[in-house]
């Protein structure tokens, strides 16, 4: 099998830069460079005297190993504490608000200037001019830390913007945290998400790239471990050029802050909680989260842009190994910004026992018509008590699974495909073993298996809340999800009263054929049939972005060129508290793996439409809407 194409979408398209190609440590000619260390952000740089923190940093070139330490390395620039080892991310600067920061930054490069951003007082309405440090020079930068928050600093050897730095500069970044005065110190972890990629003159990124969390790509990222009931605090900083919708398996987390290089909005602990399982993180943005694991097992926290977690091509430009039998999906077939979290402790909520009476469903993964080995066509049929939907091909779109809140269910996933698969119940709060990451979910001693061709796997869970969720393959995601292995998982209070004419699923995914990928599917079609609505009636619109690589699509309900209004009612399957459930313009930008529910009621007859566009407004697919009296 060919390695899946990696679509690295740069988030901005500012002026082209001088883009130097990569230099590889393995070429045997360059003098040996020092190995760059991985910084887990548990230590802090600088020395504090009174209210002044003095930090001495320098920039050098070193050899970085974003995969395993034994895999080929690559020569990049990195920061170090002066005289110390190079680090990726750069040294963490962490101060109490009001601290005066005195930074001495030395440019140890021979020919290039170092341009340093992010060393200034927060918040800042606009970023001050960066500090230019000529080769061999040192500059003192003094500033007061300013308002508490999650920030970062970064460097470049040109006047490039953060996302458009030359590949060699892309790992020049470090965290800058300002803590509130007197704030309780909490145990937390800080992750910076970086991107290394070569970019052509036409700003097309190369397929050879690395996306890393704290300097490593999965499965070489740090594994976190917590006890049941621990309060997990994470700060996530996106210092690369890609959008990362960060998804936590099996749980909701509370977003505690959102910000960027210049400012941070910290939501007070007492504010109305924003509970999500996926948070879209644009380039240069930050967020922090709190999560209290209540079920033991292994859980993933990862970017849901599948092109970011597909195995990348070898970093030294060599040909990828031929596709081989996979024994461990999670370790062998995923890469990039993924962190594995192990939760240990005695789990009181053994919810999937054998003796519970369950509703029994069979979800059959099938080969659909119209595919071939290069671009397979797969889909699902759903069977309950001998009734199968759909009874025959086509299996596009996949049937929605409608479950009852609080009712235990057993879903037997039957694999009729010629390759292994496994299904993830995206957003469902369930036992780790049934979470569907083959080779990882469950425990290390008893991981969840991949489902071999002809085999089946019984997933058991009891959905605790009504909402909009997703089921999708978590094996060879780029290929299998594009083939069609995704669908809507809808949990309602009473399936008997579920009315699909008023409760409308709008599942956006990638077309099966590569030639069609300048469009998107809405419910399995690039030319979806017109939706018929009636004036005055009310509709629940359930938007799902399960596209494999478009993390910034916008969905708009339009009458002519005018947005209408709708009321937000849920995000990621979690009902919004009343204070957040407000009427607003009928437009939403969605990252992959996010779901949004809106309530909409047309007020006048006529023609409307749903437009799905990319971030800059190019139309991807349009669904006509006819509003009848």
């Amino acid at each position: 099998m060919d390695s899946a194409p990696v679509r690295l979408i740069l988030a901005s398209s500012v002026a082209a830069l001088t883009l130097a190609g990569p230099t590889f440590a393995a070429d045997g000619h360059a003098p040996a460079l020092e190995t760059i260390r991985i910084n887990d952000n548990r230590g802090e740089a600088g020395s504090l005297q009174g209210t002044t923190l003095t930090v001495r940093l320098e920039t050098r070139e070193g050899e970085w190993h974003p995969d395993s330490d034994r895999d080929p390395g690559i020569n990049v620039l990195a920061f170090a504490v002066e005289g110390g080892p190079l680090q990726i991310p750069g040294p963490l600067i962490r101060v109490i608000e009001g601290t005066e920061v005195q930074a001495f930054v030395r440019n140890r490069l021979e020919k290039e200037p170092l341009i340093v951003h992010g060393m200034y007082t927060r918040p800042a309405a606009t970023a001050p001019e960066p500090v230019v440090i000529e080769p061999g020079q040192v500059r003192e930068i003094r500033f007061r830390a300013g308002a508490p928050g999650t920030y970062y600093y970064w460097g470049a050897t040109s006047h490039a913007t953060l996302p458009l730095r030359a590949a060699r500069d892309t790992q020049l970044y470090g965290g800058f945290l300002v803590e509130p005065r007197g704030g309780a110190a909490q145990s937390e972890r800080v992750f910076l998400i970086g991107v290394w990629a070569t970019v052509s003159d036409t700003l097309v990124p190369s397929d050879v790239n690395r996306m890393v969390m704290n300097g490593k790509s999965w499965p070489h990222t740090e594994r976190l471990s917590y006890q049941l009931g621990d309060a997990v605090h994470l700060r996530i900083i996106n210092v690369g050029g890609a959008v990362h919708p960060m998804h936590l398996h099996g749980f909701y987390f509370k977003v505690d802050s959102r910000g960027d290089e210049r400012a941070d909005a910290i939501f007070p602990a007492s504010s109305s909680p924003r509970l999500v399982n996926t948070e879209r993180l644009a380039p240069g943005r930050t967020f922090s989260l709190t999560w209290t694991p209540t079920r033991a097992g292994n859980w993933l926290f990862h970017c849901h842009d599948m092109s970011h977690i597909a195995p990348a091509l070898p970093i030294d430009g060599s040909k990828p190994a031929e596709h081989q039998h996979v024994t461990n999906h999670a370790l062998e077939m995923m890469a990039g910004p993924v962190v594995g979290i192990s939760v240990v402790g005695k789990d009181a909520s053994a919810s999937a026992s054998n003796d519970t009476k369950r509703r029994n469903l069979r979800l059959i993964a099938k080969v659909d018509t119209g595919g071939d080995s290069k671009e397979p066509a797969y889909g699902f049929a759903l069977d309950e008590a001998g009734k199968t939907t759909p009874a025959a091909p086509p299996y596009l779109p996949s049937p929605p699974i409608i479950l009852k809140r609080g009712e235990p269910v057993s879903i037997s996933v039957v694999n009729e495909l010629p390759e292994a698969t496994a299904i993830h119940w995206h957003g469902i709060e369930l036992d780790s073993y049934y979470d569907g990451v083959a080779g990882f979910s469950g425990t290390t001693a008893r991981p969840s298996p991949a489902i071999a061709p002809g085999q089946s796997f019984e997933a058991r869970f009891t959905p605790p809340r009504s909402g909009t969720f997703i089921y999708h393959t978590h094996v060879d995601e780029m290929r299998q999800q594009q083939a069609g292995l995704n669908g809507a998982l809808i949990v309602v209070d009473d399936p008997a009263t579920y009315d699909p004419t008023h409760d409308i699923v709008l599942l956006v995914s990638v077309p099966r054929k590569e030639v069609e990928t300048d469009k998107v599917y809405i419910n399995g079609s690039t030319t979806p049939a017109a939706l018929e609505l009636k004036v005055g009636e009310r509709y629940r619109l359930r938007f799902i972005n399960i596209h494999i690589f478009r993390p910034s699509m916008r969905m708009r309900l339009l009458n002519g060129d005018t947005l209408l209004t709708w009321r937000g009612i849920a995000k990621d399957g979690m009902d919004l508290p009343l204070d957040q459930s407000v009427v607003g313009p009928s437009e939403i930008q969605m990252g992959n793996g996010e779901t949004y529910d809106f309530e909409f009621s047309p007020t006048a007859p006529g023609d409307m439409r749903l437009d799905v566009t990319n971030a800059v407004g190019d139309l991807l697919t349009r669904m006509p809407i006819r509003v009848l009296r």
Partner: protein, 347 residues
């Protein structure tokens, strides 16, 4: 009822998290409106600056879609004898109304089509149960509070939009004091915030509290006056920590002794306001959205405002009202009261 501000917009949030911009102290502007009814309206629930619902005696339910220029009377079948002391609107179409009284008079109805149809969701049969008020975290999840029976608190909860109302097991609730209940004077005895927090102010001047959606409860004393006609009449929170209880003695409307207290720890401890307190008995209190620490309290003989989270109060020029509600993130609210009185407040 909305009681919070959720800063979505970064610059706004920054402004709010940093030095607070000086707030105009101009509000509120009171605008008397015509309800078209003569019943006492002890329930009001605002959605936005255009949409609000109100309820009261004689089965009265009202709704406006135009900011109160006109109020439509909605008919709840066979409810003419009922006194709807609480209404919680979820949208311009969805609303719950609660009627008070012993036995079968205690009911909850819901409409999902702007009052064209009403579903009787809860009809009490226990002669000891007397519903007082309700509140909702989301359109599907809420609770309703009754006077206690045999030293046991009676709280009903729903997670499916009122399709089923289940009594919360007594084993998860503290013991009630003899005859402890709530004054059904304004429909504001139950306060909620966010997704899990709920507080109930009782006639015995205690606060029942749950921070996990009603799974477990604790009870906390407060310094408000109690008696056969005194206690907590209203409770509200502007976030998960800052709340205010108001009350007094409804038979002594002009008096103001030990009738307002504040909390900054989520309702665990309450501090009585001893100086510059309320200027009389007050039956409802609410935070003003989009302000930092501004609140309003209304009662049958007047109203007060506070700009410091309830520590000090200033009397407002106002008619008497029983209850008050602001729209979500909106500085437009409504107050309602006796003889069908409605006024709009533009803060």
């Amino acid at each position: 009822m909305n009681r919070s501000v959720w800063p979505e917009v970064l610059p706004l949030a920054i402004a709010m998290s940093g030095v607070l911009v000086a707030l105009t102290v101009a509000g509120p502007q009171w605008q008397p409106q015509t309800s078209g009814v003569a019943s006492r309206l002890r329930g009001v629930s605002a959605i936005s600056n255009l949409v609000a619902w109100a309820s009261g005696a004689n089965g009265t339910v009202l709704r406006t879609l135009n900011g109160g220029r006109t109020w439509d009377v909605l008919h709840v079948p066979d409810a003419e004898q009922l006194d709807f002391r609480d209404i919680d609107a979820m949208s311009e179409r969805d609303a719950y109304v609660l009627s008070i009284g012993p036995g079968e008079a205690s009911r909850i109805y819901k409409t999902t089509d702007a009052g064209a149809h009403w579903t009787l969701q809860l009809k009490n049969t226990d002669p000891g149960v007397f519903l007082d008020a309700m509140a909702f975290w989301t359109p599907a999840r809420g609770i309703a509070f009754s006077d206690s029976v045999d030293r046991q608190f009676v709280i009903f909860s729903t997670a499916d939009g009122g399709g089923t109302w289940s009594r919360i097991p007594s084993s998860t609730l503290p013991e009630a004091l003899p005859s402890e209940g709530a004054y059904a004077a304004s429909g504001t005895n139950v306060a909620m915030f966010g997704a899990e927090d709920v507080w109930i102010g009782t006639s015995a001047a205690r606060v029942l509290r749950s921070s996990n959606g009603g799974k477990t409860w604790s009870v906390h004393p407060t310094p408000l006056a109690t008696g056969s006609s005194a206690g907590i009449f209203s409770i509200a929170f502007r976030d998960a920590r800052h709340g205010i209880i108001v009350g007094g003695d409804y038979r002594k409307e002009q008096e103001s002794i030990d009738n307002v207290a504040t909390t900054a720890d989520g309702g665990v401890t309450w501090t009585l306001v001893r100086q510059r307190g309320l200027s009389g008995f007050r039956s409802a209190v609410a935070p003003v959205p989009n302000t930092a620490r501004t609140w309003i309290a209304v009662g049958p003989v007047g109203a007060d405002r506070s700009d410091d989270d309830g520590r000090t109060w200033t009397a407002l020029q106002s008619d008497g009202f029983d209850t008050v509600s602001f729209g979500r993130r909106s500085q437009v609210g409504w107050a309602t009261g006796a003889r069908g009185r409605i006024a709009r407040l533009d803060w």
